[in-house]
């Protein structure tokens, strides 16, 4: 694993953009007391090094007709994780699926238009012959993304 040292300017760029990807370069430059050019160059460098992969919008799926969000914790038959993951990724509404270590074999997140659709997605997953158990949790009220919470400071001058 390549782990690069980030300095104060890198951290300032990442922190600002985590909170708001449209933050003006000039605002970040003013915070760091450096030129706008420096910020632009650093931003480009962070991209070139693959530390920043993209900037994107945070959207609320509910406003796009995907009313129900849920996560599934799934237990599968031994050595069938890849097969089940591949199956999951073909399902409509599935946003995220990964092999996990711990209580369950697979952790996944899905959005559907309503509870009926979410239930039929669950039943589809349950019907796979390698799936032993599906535990569902429906996200309620407010789901909160807080990507600005990355703790970047410890990396300054780190290993």
């Amino acid at each position: 694993m390549s782990r690069r040292k980030l300095d104060e300017i890198d951290v300032a760029i990442l922190r600002n953009l985590q909170k708001d990807a449209r933050t003006k370069y000039s605002d970040i430059a003013a915070q760091c007391s450096v030129s706008v050019d420096t910020i632009i160059k650093r931003f480009k460098k962070l991209k070139d090094q693959g530390i920043i992969t993209n900037t994107t919008l945070l959207l609320d799926p509910r406003k796009f007709g995907e009313e129900v969000i849920a996560n599934f914790s799934i237990d599968v038959e031994p050595s069938s994780v890849d097969e089940v993951l591949e199956f999951l990724r073909k399902q409509n509404g599935l946003c995220f699926a990964t092999q996990a270590m711990g209580r369950y074999d697979i952790f996944s997140i899905a959005t559907r238009r309503n509870m009926n659709e979410m239930n039929s997605l669950k039943e589809t997953i349950q019907s796979h012959n390698m799936v032993r158990e599906v535990r569902t949790n429906i996200w309620v009220d407010q789901f909160l993304l807080c990507p600005q919470n990355f703790e970047l400071e410890p990396l300054i001058g780190g290993p």
Partner: protein
């Protein structure tokens, strides 16, 4: 949502820093129109904000953990308060109340196993947290990250 709204979202999902002027050029509208539509979508909550996607592996995070939390059934414990505490904890990237097997879910980015233990302990110490199960996965699995930037 209009066709133009969808277009704006498409452009900004690809690159949230794209200037409104460029979107205006591409869609043959005025820059003011684009700004108005964007502000309206922010106000209505369709767009919750924008962020940078960081390859967590490259900045020293080995993986992500999911904590599914059970809350003590009691009058003076509110899951709302626990949720607020979770959101303010460093390295938590998603937190929500849930209905089903557990009461709350939190996703956190983790440096290593030690760090994972530390976060587990910190969550366990929050008043009202009765129990939790967790799982971890390595690297930066990203599948269809339309809504979930993990």
């Amino acid at each position: 949502m209009s066709e133009l709204d969808t277009k704006i979202i498409e452009y900004l999902t690809e690159n949230a820093r794209l200037s409104f002027r460029k979107i205006a050029n591409q869609t043959e509208r005025s820059t003011d129109t684009i700004i108005n539509h964007y502000n309206k979508m922010m106000k209505n909550g369709e767009i919750r904000g924008s962020t940078v996607i960081v390859d967590i592996d490259k900045i020293g995070y080995e993986g992500t953990a999911a904590f599914q939390i059970d809350v003590t059934a009691s009058n003076d414990v509110k899951s709302e308060g626990i949720l607020q505490t979770l959101i303010e904890m460093p390295n938590i990237i998603v937190a929500t109340k849930t209905v089903g097997e557990h009461d709350l879910l939190a996703l956190a980015v983790i440096h290593d196993v030690k760090h994972y233990q530390q976060i587990s302990r910190d969550i366990a110490e929050i008043k009202g947290v009765k129990n939790m199960t967790s799982c971890i996965w390595p690297g930066n699995e990203k599948i269809l990250p339309k809504y979930f930037i993990i």
